[in-house]
């Protein structure tokens, strides 16, 4: 075979190029990701998930949750808002001036110009940055997801299909263990038209013992009289994992203005 060497070199080059693109380049780019700090703070980000929640990741994986739920918020753009914080020596002029200016939904240049106009008149302003996009206006998060959000997850569960809502911040949206457990046991008990399947096999229906663990179910979904629904360890771990999903801290690579809580 005269062309054997040529075929080998061409095949090696094709496979090598795809390896370099899919494995080497991402590894060089993101392989060094490490714990960072929250913007304008010394708090570390991210924090390890607590023990039960770390186990819950494997339950999430085993039940194929990522087939219908994503954990990645998309951001399309940015918007600036200029807020008047002090009216200076001539409050009437400054507040009239500010009332006449467009102060929300600005670009960076427009926000800087508006802040300068007010500052020249003696007023004080603060400029707030927020993200824009469909996911953010749905309340799924305040910023786009970044690599460090997934630092402690193995394997990561970013998902690619949204039959259900994004879960990046479900732990903040529904920070109640009973809500999470009831929703897993009977999704329609909470969302009437939910298409989510029931994960009742993660629960045990047993003779009532008055256990504190028993689910508080709404009428129509409750266990028959004399029985109670209690979560198995797998359901508890999954609920703990869902409660730990909260990737919304402002970071250098994903900045937004978090209004201070003094």
């Amino acid at each position: 075979m005269k062309t054997g060497i040529g075929v080998f070199v061409a095949a090696f080059a094709a496979l090598g190029a795809s390896w370099a693109g899919f494995v080497l380049a991402p590894s060089l780019q993101l392989g060094g990701t490490k714990v960072t700090t929250v913007l304008n703070s010394t708090d570390e980000y991210p924090v390890q998930r607590p023990g039960e929640a770390a186990l819950g990741l494997q339950v999430y994986r085993a039940n194929g949750c990522a087939a219908c739920h994503t954990q990645q918020v998309q951001q399309d753009g940015t918007a600036f808002e200029v807020v008047l914080t002090g009216a200076g020596k001539d409050p009437v002029t400054v507040s009239n001036l500010a009332a006449g200016l467009k102060l929300t939904g600005l670009t960076k240049e427009a926000a800087d110009a508006a802040a300068k106009t007010i500052a020249d008149a003696g007023g004080k302003t603060e400029t707030h940055l927020s993200g824009t996009g469909a996911d953010i206006s749905r309340g799924w998060g305040s910023r786009h997801s970044v690599a460090v959000d997934f630092l402690y997850d193995a394997p990561v569960q970013p998902g690619s299909l949204r039959a259900g809502p994004d879960l990046t911040n479900i732990g903040a949206r529904a920070a109640d263990a009973n809500w999470q457990l009831v929703h897993l046991y009977a999704p329609k008990a909470i969302v009437k038209d939910s298409t989510m399947p029931s994960f009742a096999y993660l629960f045990e229906v047993r003779a009532a013992t008055g256990s504190a663990e028993a689910l508080k179910l709404p009428a129509g979904f409750a266990a028959p009289a004399g029985f109670e629904v209690v979560p198995t360890p797998a359901a508890r771990h999954l609920a703990a994992y869902l409660l730990s999903l909260h990737a919304d801290a402002p970071l250098y690579e994903a900045p937004y203005s978090q209004l201070a809580k003094p």
Binding site: L30, N40, S41, T42, Q75, E126, L129, Q258
Partner: protein, 202 residues
């Protein structure tokens, strides 16, 4: 195969087209180079050059740096709170109430609430040694110059936080003011006593 066919296959018959080498048309070369150039310009503007910190919708580190929300008192307070809790709060308490026998309170302290920041800023920069009176109580202090190692902006943020938290309502301190104060103090200043601090302008 007949002899006639073989002859045709060799392409020897007159009138048959033959493959020759000819250069690609100039417009294809120009169009390819123009596309490469436009692609390069687009890449340069939007890729962030593979920087791991640049994600869409941002397209360069410079833009990301410019967009960081760092202006305003709210950002300074949040930054100051973080540093306070790591450095000062260990003795003075996260609530600014101090600890008996360890450190006097900062909440409502006349040293914090003074009109100017001068006396207050001297305390973390040079430390305190000896007697000092805080809110009518006498303390005997040996506080190291805890703030001497902090950058100007960080120390200013901490002082702004202390002066604006737990009911304290004194003004903001800027990094430039701390820089100037440091330059006036010179290197390795000695810890002050309460009386020495009192002798300074507010």
């Amino acid at each position: 195969m007949s002899e006639d066919n073989q002859k045709n296959c060799r392409g020897n018959s007159p009138g048959e087209p033959t493959a020759t080498r000819s250069s690609a048309p100039m417009w294809i070369i120009v169009a390819t180079l123009a596309l490469l150039f436009l692609g390069g310009v687009y890449f340069d503007h939007n890729s962030g050059w593979f920087n791991p910190r640049v994600y869409a919708p941002y397209h360069s580190v410079d833009q990301l740096e410019a967009y960081q929300p760092k202006s305003g008192a709210a950002a300074a307070l949040a930054k100051g709170k973080g540093i306070y809790e790591n450095v000062c709060g260990i003795c003075h308490g996260a609530d600014g109430m101090g600890k008996p026998g360890v450190a006097p309170p900062l909440a409502g302290s006349e040293w914090v609430m003074a009109k100017g920041y001068n006396r207050l800023a001297h305390i973390p920069l040079e430390g305190v040694n000896g007697a000092i009176s805080v809110e009518g109580k006498d303390w005997t202090m040996a506080m190291a110059a805890m703030g001497a190692a902090l950058p100007d902006d960080d120390l200013a943020a901490v002082l702004t936080y202390i002066r604006g938290s737990w009911g304290n309502k004194a003004g903001e301190v800027t990094g430039d003011e701390i820089k100037k104060l440091r330059a006036d103090m010179g290197k390795n200043p000695a810890p002050a006593t309460g009386d020495q601090l009192k002798a300074m302008p507010e």
